[in-house]
C-alpha cells in the first residue's frame, strides 16, 4: 500500500521535473516564460492525439515535445524578436495554449489508450521494495533523472553552459564579448518548450491515459514555482518535484481517508513553500547574487 503511494508520488513528479528543468534553462538565460502551463497543454493534446492515431507512444512523446517547442517558438519570436513584455506575453501564451488545446482536443475526449509500459531493469528490479520503487518505471521517468543530471553537467561544466549563465547574468557584457544574446535565448526558450511539451505528454501517456481539457490542472504553475524553489539549481528541482508531487498526492490520499485538513490548504503548500524560499533567498544577498539570473525578465536591445 505504502509502496503504491510512493510510486504514485514518483510518477506525479515526473512531468514537474521535465517542465521545471526546461524553465530553469530558460530563466538561467534571462528569459521569464510564464507560459509553461500553455506549453504543457499543447504537448499533452498533441501527444495523446498522435499516439491515438498512430498507435505509437514514442511518436506521441515526440509530437508532444515538438508541440511544446512550437508554442515556445511563438513566445520567443514575440519576446526576443519584437521585445514584447515577457510577463504579459507568457500569460497570453498560457491562455492561448489552454484554448487551442481544448479546441484541438475536443474530438479526443472519451478515448483511452494503453499507457507507457514499465521497463523493469533486469535483476535490480527483483530487489525487495527498492526494486519496485527505483527500478520499475517507464522510460520517461528514467529520462527525467538523466535530464537533470545532463542539465546540471551542462550548466556547471560546459562552455555553452557558462555562456548561457553569463547571458542571464549580464546581457550587455555578453553582447560586448560577441555572444549572440538573442540567439542563445531563443535556443533556451525552444529547449524550455520541448521539455514542457515532454512534461505535458507524460500526463495523457502515462499518468492518466486519456485526454481531458485543462488536464495539466496547474502543474505548469507549480513547475514555475519549483524553479524558484530550487533557486535555479537543477538537482534541487528533482528534490522539489518530489516534495511538490508528494503534496499533490497527499491531497488525494487525504480525501480518500477522510482527513479533516481541507484539500485547498494542501494545494496552497507548494506556493507557500516557494514564497518562503524567495524570502530566504532575498535575505541572503551573497546567495542571490551567485544564483539568481540578474537579467531575468529584462528585454535586451543591442547597440544600446
Amino acid at each position: 500500500m505504502l509502496e503504491d503511494l510512493i510510486l504514485t508520488v514518483l510518477m506525479t513528479s515526473v512531468p514537474l521535473v521535465y517542465a521545471a528543468t526546461g524553465e530553469l534553462i530558460v530563466e538561467r538565460s534571462g528569459v521569464l516564460n510564464l507560459g509553461v502551463e500553455g506549453m504543457m497543454l499543447m504537448g499533452a493534446v498533441a501527444a495523446f492525439g498522435i499516439a491515438m492515431v498512430s498507435g505509437s507512444l514514442v511518436l506521441g512523446v515526440i509530437a508532444g515535445g515538438l508541440a511544446g517547442m512550437l508554442t515556445a517558438a511563438l513566445f520567443g519570436i514575440l519576446v526576443l524578436g519584437f521585445a514584447t513584455n515577457q510577463v504579459a506575453t507568457g500569460l497570453a501564451l498560457t491562455i492561448f495554449g489552454a484554448g487551442l488545446s481544448g479546441l484541438v482536443g475536443a474530438p479526443l475526449i472519451g478515448h483511452a489508450i494503453e499507457g507507457l509500459p514499465v521497463l523493469r531493469i533486469p535483476l535490480l528490479s527483483d530487489l525487495p521494495t527498492v526494486g519496485k520503487l527505483v527500478f520499475s518505471h517507464d522510460l520517461m521517468a528514467y529520462g527525467a533523472v538523466i535530464l537533470v543530471a545532463a542539465v546540471a553537467y551542462f550548466l556547471k561544466r560546459t562552455r555553452a553552459g557558462l555562456v548561457l549563465r553569463a547571458i542571464g547574468d549580464n546581457h550587455d557584457s555578453a553582447h560586448a564579448l560577441g555572444y549572440s544574446v538573442l540567439g542563445v535565448r531563443f535556443m533556451a526558450v525552444l529547449f524550455g518548450g520541448l521539455m514542457a511539451g515532454f512534461g505535458g505528454a507524460y500526463l495523457p501517456l502515462a499518468l492518466t491515459p486519456h485526454w481531458a481539457e485543462g488536464m495539466t490542472a496547474g502543474r505548469g504553475w507549480i513547475a514555475l514555482a519549483l524553479v524558484v524553489f530550487a533557486s535555479w539549481m537543477p538537482w534541487r528541482v528533482l528534490v522539489g518535484a518530489l516534495i511538490f508531487g508528494g503534496i499533490t498526492i497527499m491531497q488525494l490520499a487525504g480525501q480518500a481517508r477522510g482527513w479533516t485538513v481541507p484539500s485547498q490548504f494542501l494545494s496552497m503548500l507548494p506556493y507557500l513553500a516557494t514564497i518562503v524560499v524567495l524570502v530566504l533567498i532575498s535575505r541572503n544577498r551573497e546567495f542571490a547574487l551567485a544564483n539568481s539570473p540578474a537579467c531575468l525578465g529584462r528585454a535586451f536591445h543591442a547597440g544600446k
Binding site: 562552455r159 557558462l162 555562456v163 549563465r165 553569463a166 547574468d169 549580464n170 550587455d172 557584457s173 555578453a174 560586448a176 564579448l177 560577441g178 555572444y179 544577498r285 551573497e286 547574487l289 551567485a290 544564483n291 539570473p293 540578474a294 547597440g303
Partner: protein, 523 residues
C-alpha cells in the same frame, strides 16, 4: 589656438593602427566628424576630451562595437573593416571598459574564459591567471567571485582578461576614474611594463596630469572633431586644457572662504548607520556643519559611504535618537524627505534616471514630485496642472534646459539637459540647505559650468550647500571647504584653498599620514 600634428618621437616604430576621416552620426547628432588617429607599436597614446566629445564613440568603432558612417581604418597597413568585438580581438585589439563588463555571478576564471577562444580547461586557465598575475604584480585570485571584489580588483580582472588574449593594442576607457591616486600609480607601473613588452596602449581620459605622466602623444577631441595630435611632453596642462575645452568656454577659479564666520545651517553630529547589506558601507561617527554662504565639498572614491550618507541626509534612510541632524537648529533626525523639504532642505541624488527624475513622466510631473509638500501646486489634494507646467517651464527657461517639445518626458532629454533640470528644479525653490551628489557627472562642459555657477550663486545668496563629488577638479573649483569620506568616516573639514590634491588623494586612500597632515592644515 591650434596645434599641428607632429611626428612621433620614435620614428622607427611601425604604425599599428591608422584611422582617417572617421565620421559617425546618431540622427541629427554628430558624434565623430572627420576624426583621424594613428598609434604605433608599443606606444602609449592618449585620447583626450571632455564628456561627450566623442571619445567613447571613436573607440567603440575601433573595437568593432559600432561601424563608422564613413572613413577608413588600417590595421598593420591593411585597410580593415572591424566587424565585431570578436573580430577586433582576433586582430589583437583588447579593451577595458569604463563601466566594467564583468559577470558578477561568475568567478574570475569563468569571466576570463568567456573572453577567450574555447578549448582550455578552467583549471589550466586559473594557473595561467596566477602566473600572469605574479609576473606583472597584478594580484588577482582566479577562484574569487567577482561580486566580492573591490572596484580596483575588478578592473585588474578586466586587464588580465585582455592580456591573456595577447593583444597588440589595449584600449582603456577612463581607467582611473574609479581609482585612488595611489592605485592609479600602480596601474601606470603595470601599463609601462606592457608598453615595454611591445603592447600599444590607447588611454582615454580627461585628466590632464595623468596624461602628461603616462603618455607620449595625445590626440584631442572636441565636440566630435579632431583638434590635433601633440607630444604630451611639450605641452603644459593648461595648453592641453585649452585644446580640450576650446577658448570659448569660461572657467571658475578656486573659491575663497566667505569673509565672516557665518552661522551653521546644517549640523550633523555623530551620525552612525549600520550596514544594511554585506555590500553597504556603515557610516561611522560622521560630524560636520555647513554654514550659510559656503559650498562644503565631500570628496572620496565611490563606495566609501557616499550613497549611505546621501540617504541619511535626505531622509530616505531615517536615523534613531535625537539631534543627530539639525537644520537651522530644528531637529530633523526622524523626519522623512517631504518633511525635510518643508524645513528648507533641497537635494539632488546622483542618479538622474529613476532617482532624481522618473524617465517615463513629463517634466511638469517630475517638478511636482519634489514640490507637492510645499503647498504651491497642490491644494486640497488636487494638483494644479497649469501651475506645475508653469513651474517646469520656468525652471527650463532659467537653467537653459533645451526642450525637444513642450513639456517632454524626462527620458527625451539628454543627460546634461536633464541634470540641469533636476538641479534647477531644486535651486529655484531657494532651499536653505542644498545637498547635491555628483552634480556634473556625465555632463558636457557647458552644462557643467552653468550647474556649478548656479550652485555658487545659491551659496552666495546665503544658503548652505553640501556637494558630494568624486571629481577633485570640481571640488577644487567650487568648494570653500572640503572633507573626505573614507570607509564610512568623514575627515575634518579643511579650507580648500589650503589643501593640496596630494593630501586629498592620500585621505581618499585612507592613509594615516594624510590624516596627520590634514590635522595640521586644520590647525
Amino acid at each position: 589656438m591650434t596645434a599641428s600634428p607632429r611626428p612621433s618621437r620614435n620614428q622607427s616604430r611601425s604604425v599599428l593602427l591608422n584611422a582617417s576621416g572617421i565620421c559617425k552620426h546618431f540622427g541629427d547628432f554628430t558624434a565623430n566628424d572627420d576624426v583621424s588617429f594613428s598609434i604605433g607599436e608599443g606606444e602609449i597614446h592618449a585620447l583626450l576630451g571632455e564628456n561627450g566629445a566623442g571619445k567613447s564613440t571613436f573607440v567603440k568603432m575601433i573595437y568593432g562595437l559600432m561601424q563608422p558612417d564613413s572613413g577608413q581604418i588600417e590595421w598593420r597597413g591593411q585597410p580593415t573593416v572591424i566587424r565585431s568585438p570578436q573580430h577586433a580581438r582576433e586582430l589583437g585589439i583588447g579593451m577595458v571598459f569604463q563601466h566594467f563588463s564583468l559577470f558578477q555571478a561568475l568567478t574570475v576564471a569563468e569571466n576570463i574564459a568567456l573572453a577567450l577562444p574555447p578549448g582550455e580547461s578552467l583549471a589550466d586557465l586559473a594557473d595561467r591567471v596566477r602566473r600572469m598575475s605574479a609576473e606583472y604584480g597584478i594580484g588577482v585570485d582566479p577562484d574569487a567571485r567577482v561580486h566580492n571584489l573591490s572596484v580596483g580588483q575588478q578592473q585588474r580582472v578586466e586587464i588580465v582578461r585582455c592580456l591573456l588574449q595577447d593583444p597588440s593594442l589595449l584600449i582603456m576607457d577612463e581607467p582611473t576614474s574609479v581609482l585612488t591616486p595611489q592605485e592609479t600609480g600602480q596601474l601606470f607601473d603595470v601599463l609601462r611594463r606592457f608598453s615595454e613588452a611591445g603592447v600599444a596602449i590607447l588611454f582615454i581620459s580627461h585628466k590632464l596630469e595623468e596624461i602628461r605622466a603616462l603618455t607620449e602623444r595625445a590626440t584631442v577631441l572636441r565636440r566630435g572633431r579632431n583638434v590635433g595630435t601633440v607630444d604630451t611632453a611639450g605641452q603644459s596642462s593648461k595648453q592641453l586644457a585649452e585644446m580640450m575645452v576650446g577658448d570659448s568656454v569660461g572657467d571658475i577659479a578656486g573659491q575663497a572662504q566667505p569673509g565672516s564666520q557665518t552661522s551653521a545651517l546644517l549640523e550633523v553630529e555623530s551620525l552612525n548607520r549600520p550596514a544594511g547589506t554585506a555590500f553597504a558601507t556603515p557610516l561611522r561617527q560622521i560630524c560636520f556643519a555647513a554654514r550659510a554662504g559656503e559650498v562644503l565639498g565631500i570628496a572620496g572614491i565611490a563606495g566609501n559611504g557616499q550613497d549611505e550618507l546621501m540617504e541619511a541626509l535626505t531622509g530616505e534612510w531615517r536615523g534613531q535618537g535625537a539631534d543627530v541632524i539639525r537644520i537651522d537648529n530644528v531637529d530633523i533626525t526622524r523626519e522623512g524627505p517631504s518633511r525635510r523639504r518643508q524645513h528648507g532642505l533641497g537635494f539632488v541624488p546622483e542618479e538622474r534616471n529613476g532617482h532624481a527624475a522618473v524617465p517615463s513622466m513629463t517634466l511638469s510631473d517630475n517638478a511636482l514630485l519634489t514640490s507637492h509638500s510645499l503647498g504651491r501646486v497642490v491644494t486640497r489634494g488636487l494638483v494644479d496642472e497649469a501651475a506645475t507646467r508653469a513651474m517646469a517651464a520656468e525652471v527650463a527657461g532659467a537653467f537653459d534646459v533645451r526642450l525637444p517639445q513642450e513639456n517632454p518626458m524626462a527620458s527625451a532629454l539628454s543627460g546634461g539637459n536633464l541634470q540641469k533640470f533636476v538641479v534647477g528644479r531644486e535651486i529655484s525653490k531657494r532651499p536653505r540647505v542644498f545637498i547635491v551628489s555628483q552634480p556634473t557627472w556625465g555632463v558636457d562642459v557647458g552644462a557643467a559650468l552653468s550647474i556649478r555657477t548656479a550652485i555658487l550663486d545659491l551659496a552666495a545668496a546665503g544658503s548652505a550647500v553640501v556637494m558630494i563629488s568624486q571629481d577633485l577638479e570640481e571640488i577644487f573649483a567650487i568648494s570653500h571647504r572640503v572633507a573626505v569620506l573614507y570607509d564610512g568616516a568623514l575627515s575634518e573639514a579643511m579650507v580648500t584653498a589650503d589643501v593640496t590634491a596630494e593630501t586629498l588623494g592620500l585621505l581618499m586612500g585612507g592613509s594615516e599620514t594624510a590624516s596627520a597632515m590634514a590635522a595640521e592644515v586644520q590647525a
